[in-house]
Amino acid sequence: MTAIFYISAAIAVVATFLTITRVNVVHSLLYFICSLLATGVMFFVLGATFVAALVVIINAGAIMVLFVFVIMMLNVGPQSADQERARLRPHVWIGPGLLSLLLLIELVYSLGRYHTGVTSGQTVGPQQVGTALFGPYLLAVELASMLLLAGLLGAYHLGRGVMTFMDRKP
C-alpha cells in the first residue's frame, strides 16, 4: 500500500506539472483531473476514505466539469493553444521557478528539522467525519453553507448578463 501512495504521489506531481505546462486548456484540465484522482487514491491509502470519495465526486466530478463546460461555452479553439504557446516562452518560467525553488528549499529545510512521525494508516471513515462536522464544526458547516449560497447568488447574478448575450448570438 505504501508503494501505491508513492506511485500516486508521483502521478499527481507529474500530472500537475503537465497541467501547468500544456497549451491546450482541455489537456491541462485532463491532467489536473488525473492529478485529482491520484490525490484521491493517496487519501484513500492514508485512510481518509470519505475525502477520497469527495475529491472524485466534487472536485473531479463537478468542479472540473464546470471548467470544461465554460471552456466549451467559450469555444476555446486551436488558435487559443497557439496563443498559449507563444506566451510560454522559456524565460517566463525562470522567475516563478526560482521563487518556487527557494520556497521549496525553505520548506524542505524547515521540515527536515523535525520528525513528527508517520501517518497512522487507520481508516477514519465517513461516520467519524460526519460526527465531527455536525458536532464541533457545526458553526463552520453553517458558514460554509452561507458561503455556497453567496457563491450561488454571485454566479447567478454574474452569469445572467452573459447568458442573454449568448442567446442573442446567432
Partner: protein, 102 residues
Amino acid sequence: MATIPVETGFIIAGLLFLLGLIGVLVRRNIIYILLAIEIMLNAAGLAFVVAGAHWEQPDGQVMYFFVLTMAAAEVAVGLSLVLQMYHKFNTLDANLINRMRG
C-alpha cells in the same frame, strides 16, 4: 493502509502547491490561473489530510471538506467572472484587463 512519514506527505503537498504557484505566476490565461488556484487549494487540502491521518482524527478531512466548499464557491463565481470578462473584453488574458490601476 499505508504508513508514510508526515514530512513526506507535506513535501508532496508543498510540491503540488508550488507547481500551482508557478502556474499562477506563469500563465496569463485566466482559466489557467483559476485552475492553478485549484491546484494550490488541493495541495493545501492534502497537507490537512496528511496531518489528520497522522493524528488519526477526522479534523483533517473536515478541513478538506471546507476547502472543497470554498473551492466550489470560488469556481462558481470565478467562472461566471470569466464569462463576463470574455463577454466584455473578448479575451482571456489576465494581463489585458488590469483596468483597476492605482
